[in-house]
């Protein structure tokens, strides 16, 4: 499995993501935002950071970059595109996923470990988890308060496209576990064909036992298995 990790000038989780993919046994390389060639990547990852400074709105300018034209084409043809944190915001702005991000309900940057529940496992990214598993995983964002209108939310729920939800330690879905205020506790959603995934928490930061957190590691394992590279 070859992952192309997109580097916008303000990306700052690109190197962490490459390291995590490689530590799981995958191959990863960087794709500069001014390029258009995806160099045969099996999966495109839009990493965390502040793509173009995000002074207008997170992800607003990134969607017009040369690389995003290719990424959107790639997704339209059924390619795997995975947006983490700022990458999720870019996916929303470019219309690859529905909805928008608002400022956290606390009006503060949120940088801590939180809990999310795995809602669906029938995606290339989550089939190595058990449905209902609770993951402890870091978040680091100022705008992660997911919003979509009622029809969109209903559609997402009906099509079982909410992949992760913020929850309490024991998996309970509540306002208490929903620190940024996202509608329906949404932490991650996928596209209709289930091949584009966006999530606010950082699995690449929960992929090493030395850091005391490894609940995100199975996402890379899922991808590798999806491409038949591990049993």
């Amino acid at each position: 499995m070859k992952c192309g990790v997109v580097v916008f000038p303000g990306s700052n989780c690109d190197r962490d993501t490459v390291y995590a993919v490689e530590s799981a046994g995958g191959e990863a390389f960087y794709l500069w935002h001014k390029e258009t060639n995806l160099r045969g990547a099996d999966c495109i990852i839009l990493p965390g950071g502040f793509a173009y400074g995000d002074y207008l709105r997170t992800g607003a300018i990134a969607r017009f970059s040369p690389i995003m034209k290719s990424v959107i084409d790639f997704a339209d043809k059924g390619g795997l595109v995975f947006g983490i944190c700022n990458g999720f915001q870019v996916l929303l702005e470019s219309g690859l996923l529905p909805g928008a991000m608002m400022i956290n309900k606390t009006l503060k940057f949120l940088g801590q470990d939180i809990f999310i529940r795995v809602e669906e496992t029938d995606t290339p990214y989550t089939h190595d988890y058990y449905q209902g598993s609770v993951l402890r995983i870091p978040v680091a964002h100022f705008e992660g308060n997911y919003y979509a209108d009622g029809d969109t939310l209903n559609l997402l729920e009906k099509e079982e496209r909410v992949i992760f939800r913020y929850c309490e330690r024991d998996g309970k879905i509540s306002e208490k576990g929903n620190l940024n205020g996202s509608l329906n506790n949404i932490a991650g959603i996928c596209s209709e064909n289930r091949r584009v995934l966006g999530m606010m928490p950082h699995p690449e930061r929960a992929s090493a036992p030395i850091l005391g957190k490894s609940d995100g590691f199975a996402m890379w394992k899922s991808l590798l298995k999806y491409f038949g590279e591990v049993a």
């Binding site: 000038p9 303000g10 962490d16 390291y19 502040f50 090493a208």
Partner: protein, 743 residues
């Protein structure tokens, strides 16, 4: 040469030079400086840039050691951490700007220290901050805390550099003058270090990064070199605005030109902008520089040479490269959508020559400007009130009747409560190297692909320094070193930020000299030299100065990060032991101030030999993997330290502690005797712990056991005096900070 303004002694005085300094400037030039030159002199000879009041005393610091690769004098210090790698680090103050405009002041403080580190060739790996605010109830405190914390987060988070720790304290002496000390540590290969030198006659001088605006003119010179007035609001325009996105690109572009070996030297334009970067680079190399100021990219039209040389606009670098590399350097910067403009050349005449549209507008000898900068041996004398501070009659201090209440009041007080409210606004996990996140005795970073870890701890108890600056200085060193050693890392070297009041007052100067000498003694005894640092004087508003606050940030290395020791208790049944001894000391303690409202007495005594033995013991306990946790006893004493070992979310464990002591119960529980550490050990390893403690001559006393009661029980001489439900304690401990800021 053009005469923009006729310069007289009066002009010089207005710019902050003394008559003597003005005469010296005239003699260096052999004529009266013009307005631009005068501005450069005033800036370079300001306290902030020249260290004129502190230089003489700073020579006392130990600066050499076998791990030191670069000591003080460069943008940051460098130590060898093994495996072909170095750690590059420095701490710097941004106090006045943060008081005037907390968000931008703190943000640009972080931006500045990051540049100091990546200028040396190292990718920043960790930020820490040492913050001091006024009383929690003071009307400005919530606003300042919120702004500073958001500013630090706003800059560091966007840059993608984790903020991994630091300190936050409240004290009324900071009501009108907060402290914001920002620290950055970076890592690179030992052969990847770059220096700030303008060497090679004929080499080109390149200006890179953001455009120059009129912001920050007189920021360093004025804000940091004079006592603070109440009309601080009006100084707002001198505070710079940070652009972390620009700096992120600058970081990547600079590292790229360094890794590709396209440049000879590089220096960031810090507090004194184009003036200090050009003069210092030429001064260090013994060369001269010609600059065409009209080529400097500007944000505003019509900027004068004076403004261009004195602007403190952020996110700018001065680079020296061989002529055939200039295009390649420009290409890299263009790739990152940044300016890189050739503005001049390195010469052999030792002069800084500035041109505006081919007209010579200033000409100054580079080296003498820094070498012959004024050095003052300011008079100092022990303040008359110092002796009375030492008076503490313990007999007049009542022993609390209900220690449970006292304990609860202390653990949920402003200075001892959880700092989660602060740390949760920082991205502490980006970079995926943070092993011990904020809240530990020391932060611990892994280095991917290498076995070692880097431990970092920032410390200073300003109450100790106020009561006895010499001992306080020593205590700051030993506590920061002890925190590092608790993780199993060996303290290697430190950086410091010496925050004091007005050095022109003999009693403030006395505090400074005493603290510097105390720091020097302790650092020499622990074999931990200083490699970088900064002095911040004039931390005063009106007539009241801050408590002396020499912030120490100690850096250590653990050979095998897998053997690092955490501070929290880990397992039921583990034995709790106290390393070191509790002495009859209560002076300067948090307990005295908080419970009895007394700030007096002498701080706890320092025994440097015992301290060193304790650190060696801790390092070896980690190496042999004997203990399961280690936590330094500091503010709040033994009872608070044990509670901190239990405060996890959620609380899982409890402790049953039995103390035998002839001391007053409040001293036994809350005294702050030094050289003490709480460790936990599995019963199987207790003998090994005892044996090793004997080998290092450190007292080791079993005082209790870890259990699953989720309660802290402390029995003193067979009487149970504390029994606290730690889940409840966690709630009040973790919520207090939000209350302080009014949330």
């Amino acid at each position: 040469m053009s005469e923009e303004n006729k310069v007289t002694l009066q002009t010089a005085l207005e710019q902050g030079l003394t008559e003597e300094e003005f005469n010296k400037a005239c003699s260096i030039l052999g004529r009266t400086p013009n307005f631009t030159e005068l501005g450069v002199f005033a800036l370079m000879w300001s306290e902030h840039c020249s260290y004129k009041s502190s230089k003489y005393h700073l020579k006392k610091f130990p600066t050499e050691g076998k791990a030191v690769v670069q000591g003080p004098g460069e943008n940051a210090g460098v130590i060898d951490i093994g495996d072909g790698l170095v750690a590059v680090f420095k701490v710097e103050s941004h106090n006045h700007p943060s008081y005037v405009e907390p968000y931008q002041g703190a943000a640009t403080g972080v931006g500045g220290i990051l540049r100091d580190v990546f200028t040396m060739g190292a990718r920043p790996a960790a930020n820490l901050n040492s913050l001091r605010f006024g009383e929690p109830g003071h009307k400005k405190t919530p606003h300042l805390v919120k702004g500073v914390v958001a500013g630090i987060g706003g800059y560091g988070n966007c840059m993608g550099i984790p903020t991994v720790g630091g300190e936050v304290y409240f004290d009324k002496s900071y009501n009108g003058n907060i402290l914001v000390n920002a620290f950055t540590l970076g890592v690179c290969g030992i052969d990847e270090i770059f220096k700030a030198v303008a060497s090679g006659v004929g080499n080109k001088v390149i200006y890179a990064g953001s455009r120059t605006g009129r912001d920050g003119i007189h920021g360093a010179g004025l804000l940091a070199s004079k006592a603070f007035q109440e009309d601080a609001e009006e100084k707002r325009p001198t505070v710079q605005v940070g652009d972390p996105f620009q700096e992120k690109k600058l970081l990547e572009a600079c590292l790229e030109v360094m890794r590709k070996k396209l440049i000879v030297g590089i220096q960031d334009m810090g507090a004194a902008g184009l003036s200090s970067s050009s003069l210092e680079m030429a001064g260090r190399a013994g060369t001269g520089i010609i600059m065409h100021l009209d080529r400097v990219p500007t944000r505003e039209a019509g900027m004068t040479p004076y403004e261009l040389m004195l602007s403190e606009s952020q996110e700018r670098m001065l680079i020296v490269a061989e002529p055939h590399m200039v295009d390649k350097v420009r290409e890299v910067f263009e790739k990152w959508d940044l300016n890189a403009v050739e503005v001049g050349e390195v010469t052999d005449d030792g002069l800084l020559k500035l041109y505006m549209h081919d007209e010579l507008v200033a000409e100054m000898p580079a080296a003498p400007l820094s070498e012959e900068a004024p050095v003052y041996k300011r008079p100092y004398s022990r303040p008359s009130w110092q002796s009375s501070l030492a008076n503490l009659d313990l007999d007049k201090i009542p022993v609390p009747r209900n220690f449970n209440e006292t304990f609860k009041k202390m653990i949920s007080s402003a200075n001892l409560c959880s700092r989660e409210w602060v740390f949760n606004q920082y991205d502490s996990t980006v970079g995926t190297d943070t092993v011990f996140e904020p809240g530990y005795d020391a932060a611990l970073m892994r280095v991917k692909g290498h076995p070692m870890g880097i431990a970092i701890s920032s410390d200073c108890n300003s109450r100790y320094c106020y009561l006895d600056p010499r001992t306080g200085g020593k205590l700051a060193i030993i506590e920061s070193a002890r925190n590092v050693a608790c993780t199993g890392a060996r303290p290697i070297a430190f950086t410091n930020c010496l925050n004091f009041g007005n050095p022109e007052k003999p009693e403030i100067m006395w505090q400074f000299v005493e603290a510097v000498e105390g720091i020097s003694d302790a650092a020499a005894a622990l074999d931990t030299p200083v490699v970088s640092g900064n002095v911040s004087f004039y931390n005063e508003t009106g007539d009241s100065g801050i408590k002396p606050t020499p912030t120490i940030v100690m850096v250590g290395v653990i050979e095998d990060i897998n053997k690092a020791v955490g501070m929290k208790f880990v397992a039921q049944g583990d034995i709790i032991a106290l390393l070191g001894t509790t002495r009859p000391e209560l002076g300067g303690s948090e307990y005295l101030e908080l419970i009895h409202g007394i700030t007096a007495g002498l701080p706890p005594a320092v025994d440097l030999d015992r301290e060193r033995n304790l650190h060696n013991l801790l390092i070896n306990l980690s190496k042999e993997q004997i203990i399961n946790s280690a936590h330094d006893i500091s503010d709040g004493g033994l009872a608070i330290a044990i509670a901190e070992c239990l405060l996890t979310d959620p609380v899982r464990l409890g402790a049953d502690v039995k103390l035998e002591s002839e001391l007053r119960p409040d001293i036994a529980l809350f005294g702050e005797s030094q050289g003490r550490v709480i460790v936990s050990v599995s019963p199987d390893e207790l003998n090994n712990l005892r044996k090793m403690a004997v080998r290092y001559g450190v007292e080791c006393e079993v005082i209790g056991e870890v259990d699953i009661s989720k309660t802290l029980n402390i029995t003193l001489n067979s009487e149970k005096i504390i029994s606290a439900d730690m889940t409840d304690i966690y709630k009040s401990w973790s919520k207090k900070f939000a209350e302080i800021v009014g949330e």
